[in-house]
């Protein structure tokens, strides 16, 4: 008892460019049109040795009018039906669809189209739904073939066992001379004592009779990579042959499974197989019942989903590219760096001026995804040249800086989550009248909430007083505070110590010639500056009020502020990272690569740079017990009295000096000596 011929199911392979092209056509051409559109499928003419699976590919050229790849591929004729909704995709009648496609193929057979182009027997279609917003493509391939084609395999042997080497050579060269439309299926005529003849179906088929059928071999270009099976379109060939040669039913017929393969640099058809096959009887529904829906990856009859977001959505491509850049740093240079920790750090930028812009851009570079701006001014005509997030048009439109900065940041990188808040930060000594009382309270609440919602707070404001409130609240909330201030040709970048009562972190061994201050004992911006932040805007000359700095200073300081944050984040003690400072001239800081606490090295307390000499120093200062912003005296008063205390301070900075017990101290101190550095050197 002989076996039945087995068929290989075709497996679809979609080139990303196919989805790209489909989206483009859907948007610009098809729109809501739900008709079928002709497409091409491709199967390699040379059977692959590296891939045992029989693939039919589609790509962007599938939508071309003409098939032009005959030298490499066999064409499959197909179409795509792209539905407008997922419901239509689900609900359309799949049986009816494949039967109607089968009927179309039957029409091609009976009206003799197949004689003109034999590849019409190789068919497919795609039912699809494209969710263009999500870049999700639901799709289902079908390769329609008649349901009832059971063919009995009587005999199978190698081509060279039936034909002489010369005949094999004739077959191959005659194949090459065939018109492209006739290469998929053709006929070989072999009569004893005569030369082998290769003819088209159109030329020969109708003259074959039951008596001389054994002189003929029906050739099909086999697409199966499995030697023991033939591609499923063979069934269409049988349907076609039985239509024109009814007498072949239930008869044994010669076939050649034509197979091109490569041996070394030679392409030959020697691996072809000659079959003796017993063709079936045509059932009643032979031409009306069709099958061929492709199974999905779970081997079930069902559609597939291609999620092309990573490949096609430009904003996702940008996000992945940014992440990859950082990962390359991790893979190549710093295997232990924690990029996720950086990525998830939410940053609040108080001030969206030169410093704010520069800080935001550097944060983007590190992969930070949440950046919030607070500012109360609008973009002026002088801003765009120095403030790297703004354009001329923003100044024409008088956009608010915080909003413009957030919008432009998203233009630069859509993956960022950036928001701008127009807000004036209440300041000590800027008295609050009745009319402003509610608004001031509102601003305090909003700022407090913003600080609570973020992990790192950047103080990038243009006056000293406006830094006071965020310094206090940030300290109480135990946030990382990074402060940057600018002079004409100098800058100060520092991190504030945190308010942490119960910390036991001891600095690890430190090198000789340097001292260390633990993270909770570090000074804040105000510690070194003794007087309470009064109204520094009053009574100043113009150049003290406005930012008059060498343009590069803000870029340097902004970048350093971010790098300082990153070093804090990568330190194993985070915000409590101790700061080392050199006490001897003989120990350069570069050599203080102390401890394995951080992959990025030391975390200084402050960085001061001077462009007049292009020098930079890294002083560290301890918390001042009478500090107007971070001392326990002030913090406890704030914790106790809250808004009442704040309003008192806003109305008079003298109140702050009282609370911090500075008033008492000034009685017996020479004011000028206490002042280590004045904020006038470091106004933003």
């Amino acid at each position: 008892m002989s076996d039945n011929l087995s068929y290989v199911q075709i497996s679809s392979s979609v080139n990303p460019s196919f989805w790209n092209k489909l989206s483009e056509l859907k948007l610009n051409v098809y729109k809501l049109d739900e008709s079928k559109h002709s497409i091409w499928g491709y199967h390699t003419i040379i059977n692959s040795t590296s891939c045992p699976i029989t693939l039919m590919e589609v790509d962007s050229t599938s939508f071309n009018r003409e098939f032009t790849a005959h030298n490499q591929y066999l064409p499959f004729h197909g179409w795509i039906l792209n539905t407008n909704t997922i419901e239509q995709f689900k609900e359309c009648d799949k049986v009816e669809l494949i039967n109607s496609e089968g009927h179309k193929l039957y029409q091609h057979i009976i009206n003799e189209d197949v004689f003109k182009d034999t590849s019409l027997l190789n068919r497919f279609f795609i039912l699809s739904f494209a969710d263009l917003k999500k870049f999700h493509y639901y799709y289902w391939f079908s390769f329609p073939v008649p349901r009832h084609v059971v063919v009995e395999k009587i005999d199978a042997c190698d081509l060279e066992n039936v034909f002489s080497p010369e005949e094999v050579e004739t077959l191959h060269s005659a194949y090459k001379n065939l018109d492209c439309t006739q290469r998929s299926y053709f006929i070989v005529k072999k009569e004893s004592g005569k030369m082998l003849e290769i003819c088209t179906l159109a030329f020969q088929l109708k003259s074959i009779t039951l008596e001389d059928k054994d002189n003929y071999y029906f050739v099909f270009h086999n697409i199966s990579n499995d030697k023991n099976a033939v591609g499923s379109p063979f069934r269409n060939y049988v349907a076609f042959l039985l239509y024109y040669c009814d007498f072949l039913q239930n008869k044994i017929v010669n076939f050649i499974s034509f197979n091109l393969s490569r041996t070394g640099s030679q392409v030959t058809c020697r691996k072809s197989i000659v079959y003796k096959l017993k063709l079936p009887m045509k059932t009643k529904d032979f031409y009306t019942s069709w099958v061929g829906w492709e199974k999905n990856e779970r081997d079930k009859m069902g559609p597939k989903l291609a999620n092309m977001k990573n490949t096609l959505d430009p904003s996702v491509i940008a996000e992945n590219a940014v992440d990859l850049n950082l990962k390359l740093m991790k893979w190549n240079l710093l295997p232990s760096i924690d990029l996720d920790n950086i990525k998830k750090t939410k940053c609040l930028l108080l001030g969206a001026g030169t410093l704010g812009c520069s800080v935001a851009r550097t944060l983007l570079g590190w992969g930070v995804r949440d950046i919030t701006f607070v500012d109360n001014s609008t973009v002026s005509f002088s801003n765009p040249v120095r403030q790297s997030l703004f354009t001329y048009q923003d100044s024409v439109d008088m956009k608010s800086k915080s909003k413009a900065a957030a919008d432009n940041l998203k233009n630069i990188f859509p993956g960022v989550n950036s928001v701008g808040h127009q807000l004036t930060i209440p300041m000590p000594g800027h008295s609050v009248g009745e009319s402003l009382l509610e608004q001031t309270k509102e601003s305090v609440k909003k700022l407090t909430q913003l600080i609570k919602d973020h992990d790192a707070i950047f103080l990038l404001l243009d006056s000293r007083e406006s830094r006071w409130l965020p310094t206090l609240i940030g300290n109480v909330e135990n946030k990382i505070l990074i402060n940057a201030a600018l002079g004409f040709d100098s800058y100060l970048v520092m991190r504030h110590g945190v308010y942490s009562q119960n910390d036991t972190i001891q600095a690890s061994d430190h090198p000789e010639g340097c001292k260390v201050i633990t993270g909770n004992n570090l000074a804040c911006y105000f510690c070194c500056d003794v007087t309470a932040p009064g109204d520094s805007l009053k009574g100043r000359t113009l150049d003290q009020q406005c930012t008059v700095t060498r343009p590069g200073v803000s870029q340097i300081a902004g970048a350093l502020a971010v790098e300082l944050l990153i070093s804090v984040l990568q330190h194993k003690h985070g915000v409590l990272a101790p700061a080392y400072y050199s006490t001897a001239q003989t120990v350069p800081m570069q050599e203080m690569t102390a401890s394995g606490d951080s992959v990025l090295g030391l975390v200084p307390h402050s960085i001061r740079g001077f462009l007049s000499s292009f020098e930079q120093i890294l002083p560290a200062t301890e918390k001042y017990k009478n500090c107007v912003a971070c001392s326990d005296l002030v913090i406890n008063e704030y914790k106790e009295k809250q808004m009442e205390f704040l309003l008192n301070v806003f109305n008079s900075s003298k109140h702050l000096e009282d609370v911090a017990l500075l008033t008492e101290m000034f009685k017996d101190t020479d004011f000028e000596e206490v002042l280590e550095f004045s904020d006038e050197d470091f106004s933003a």
Binding site: V14, P16, W19, I53, G264, A306, L324, L328
Partner: protein
């Protein structure tokens, strides 16, 4: 010091080499074909597609049919050919560089492993897996004088790391 008489591959040399590759490929029906962006000096490059079955890891015995699309283009700043490629699954989704590395654990010990990264294609300006060009010159140097087709000679060295094997006919072009 930078010397100008340093041996290197000119764009003209490169274009001639890839033209020879396409000619040989046409005879072999091997699938290499030309693409060109006429606005760029280094706009000519060649493409070939190949399907392979690689299994992702031991426990999962599903075979993944992957399509590799190889591009050979010219990187002007390094003055060397670049081998870029993309790999996609049957549904058209692309492999990430991490997924690709996972498939190529066997190369982990070789120093070629860490030179496979993702870079922008010199002509298409989109991210592709790339054999980082920094070591290409070093590999190419001996071929510049000896080989009639230094691009092919270089490919025979680096190709196997990205599953690209060249037919012996190409190798014959070099001598």
């Amino acid at each position: 010091m930078i010397t100008l008489d340093d041996m290197s591959l000119s764009i003209e040399d490169f274009n001639r080499c890839i033209e020879d590759i396409v000619n040989t490929s046409d005879n072999l029906i091997d699938g290499w074909r030309f693409e060109q962006n006429e606005e760029l000096e280094n706009g000519k490059y060649i493409i070939k597609k190949e399907q392979k079955v690689l299994s992702q890891d031991q426990e999962d015995d599903i075979n993944h049919v992957l399509t590799f699309e190889y591009h050979i283009a010219f990187n002007i700043s390094y003055g060397v050919p670049v081998l870029c490629f993309n790999v996609w699954k049957q549904d058209g989704t692309m492999l990430t560089v991490e997924e690709f590395w996972k498939l190529n654990e066997r190369f982990k010990e070789s120093n070629m492993y860490d030179t496979i990264t993702q870079m922008d294609h010199p002509v298409l300006r989109r991210p592709f897996f790339t054999l980082h060009p920094c070591r290409t010159h070093e590999i190419m140097e001996p071929f510049l004088e000896e080989s009639k087709n230094p691009v092919v000679s270089w490919l025979t060295v680096v190709g196997p790391f990205v599953h690209l094997d060249l037919n012996e006919e190409y190798v014959k072009m070099c001598s």
